[in-house]
Symmetry: C2
Subunit: 397 residues, 2 copies
């Protein structure tokens, strides 16, 4: 089937995925080409559904974010095999969404779409607004009309259309599906609906970067957040591609999925030994992961079981504690989703599920500046008068 | 005079600056070494006051931020010679302060200091907190006790001491000077006071990166924000070093300084033809530039005049308009300081002072997420009911 703006099989209605033919590649030539490429995701252009000249087009060029060797966090958690944080808050709009939107943008351009669109309550809105602005495409982002003012500003500043829908997030999504099926939606690329197969491929770049930054080596263990589950499945796909291409040694790795207790349908299914995921009504501070009916949940269960990993969840209190732990030990201020992965890592080590003697990579997919409310209780450690006596009295010397 | 934690001449009380002996360098070997270095400021370690193994020590490793070719902004401003935005919001704590704090941290380590400190009302507090956390140093940041809660959270999350001083920012600074002179301050490194000569050198890396990212070429024109003026003087120093080292061709460049109208002591002096800068009481939304008595003001005047540049200011309305212009054309959400540089660039082009036919680099030194209030008026472009009729009525099709 040729590439096109299609996202579901016409016969079984299942989601479509992009396939590659890697048979013609020379491993060392490919490695050299990647290493000589730009310091962004386009260094991996040969492994992505993008044109060869992609790096020359106006795009926000996300990726090649820091893989931080987290020695102080490792010491606190008792990890001896090497602990790393893949910190995607370094992306242009400070979340991993820039990776996936950058792919969708190139697909939109290839298909001649004129409007880049999505429904969102957060990170995705900013990523779409910024990417469309850079490319000179119109953008139109749909959000619930009563979203908090701070989030509205972060999405509105890029100057595209920002449409409030009178209803909740489910109403917004239903409306978007209706629009895609209507002539009014012609020329519209919804990054995570009709462009989803391209969009989703962007998450593979997390796997590529982690391995290249480790010196073309697979980590033993990865801890990945689960919202729809797409990111985790694509990271697995990326790792398998690197093995197939001979860019890394073929040896076992384990993928661990992380959810918030208040939205833990995949974790619940994993622990119960189920193959299907029962939807939940989300109630957690980790809003960027709050998808109660994750489309890729069953695939996540497969991957966790096949690789010998697990899926675990942590409550809001542990999420906040983990945000502070990461900030205090490594100077990384993570979004609530980063609190979930660090919190789950800690919990899995304590439970003896994650092996502290193995190389472990934990993902932070967003920026704490976007979820300040989660740590709003943090404040001054002392208040003094502007003189040395007051300073000494406070025990600060 | 040997390197040490001294910041003022014992005879004239003037500020001290770090000098280098570049006479032994082979240009092409140095270039190759830089290009093979890490994707952060430590690629320039030979040109900085840091140990040779600096990249192996725990530091937040800022720098190597994007130099964005801003073609859509250029079209709006009528720039034909190539317009670039050096986007320092990509640093670990999302401002250029990470560059200077990273230097101060290495100096603190070298001098055996155990506490990293500063006074701040914003970006610097986060940069110090994060850098100290990564390095495992104690941090103690002093702020006015009545700072807005959001800014307190951004500084407090890294877990160091965060001390509120009962008084205004001037009281905070006076207290810090007192502490440095007292035995109670022994072992304390104030990044921008007793470590200032090291701290300030970090700004040179902006010049290095811009030239390397342009293909080892000097830009014709640079637009740089002015707070204390230190950043601008160090960018000039960095450019001159690259010429001296033979890494770029020796040809003229012009440096333009940018201030907010509500805190424009240097711009006022420049326009009046004065050599001295008369202090002002700041009143502007560009809080990160609101230094009414800029220590390096006279040096900035010298550089603007020597290079054929200028110093200009823009009012708050133009700052906000420029933030939106940059976001709408390039997908970059800048702090108010970025609104100042983009706004001044526009004003200088309109006035015929900046030549649109020349290659121009504009600095964005911070992140819009930290000054959301400036664009708080931005909002929904439409509100509709969740159906296609309502969508069509709103004229969105």
């Amino acid at each position: 089937m040729p590439l096109g703006p299609v996202f579901a099989c016409e016969e079984c209605f299942g989601p479509l995925e992009i396939a590659y033919d890697f048979s013609g590649y020379d491993t060392e030539k490919l490695r050299a080409r990647i290493e000589a490429g730009p310091a962004n995701i386009w260094r991996y252009a040969p492994l992505l559904p993008v044109p060869a000249d992609v790096a020359d087009k106006p795009n926000i060029n996300p990726g090649w974010t820091k893989l931080v060797k987290a020695d102080r966090l490792a010491a606190e958690l008792g990890v001896t095999g090497g602990l790393y944080v893949k910190d995607d808050s370094g992306n242009p709009t400070h979340s991993f969404k820039d990776r996936v939107v950058a792919q969708a943008l190139e697909a939109a351009r290839a298909f001649g779409f004129t409007t880049l669109s999505c429904s969102s309550t957060g990170n995705l809105a900013g990523a779409v607004g910024a990417a469309a602005a850079r490319a000179g495409l119109r953008s139109c982002v749909f959000i619930p009309h009563d979203l908090e003012q701070g989030k509205v500003v972060m999405a509105a500043v890029y100057g595209g259309e920002l449409v409030g829908i009178e209803g909740n997030y489910d109403d917004v999504n239903r409306f978007c599906s209706e629009l895609i099926g209507d002539p009014a939606g012609e020329g519209w690329g919804f990054v995570n609906v009709n462009l989803r197969p391209y969009y989703a491929e962007g998450s593979k770049t997390l796997a590529y970067e982690i391995c290249e930054q480790l010196g073309w080596r697979l980590p033993d263990q990865l801890v990945v957040p689960i919202a729809s589950g797409s990111q985790l499945t694509k990271i697995d796909k990326g790792l398998r591609e690197l093995i197939e291409l001979g860019l890394v040694e073929d040896r076992p790795y384990k993928i661990f999925g992380a959810q918030a207790e208040g939205c833990s349908p995949v974790s619940t299914a994993f622990k119960a030994g189920h193959d299907v995921v029962r939807p939940q009504k989300p109630d957690t501070i980790a809003k960027s992961l709050a998808i109660g009916n994750p489309a890729d949940g069953p695939y996540v269960l497969d991957i966790a079981r096949r690789t010998g990993g697990a899926v675990e969840d942590v409550d809001d209190e542990r999420i906040v504690a983990a945000i502070k732990l990461l900030a205090r030990t490594e100077g990384i201020f993570a979004e609530t989703a980063g609190g979930v992965t660090v919190g789950v890592t800690k919990k899995l080590i304590e439970a003896g599920v994650l092996d502290p003697a193995l190389t472990t990579v934990v993902l932070n997919t967003g920026d704490g500046l976007k979820t300040l409310d989660a740590v709003a209780g943090t404040g001054l450690t002392a208040t003094i008068r502007p003189n040395l006596d007051s300073f000494r009295e406070a025990g600060l010397a």
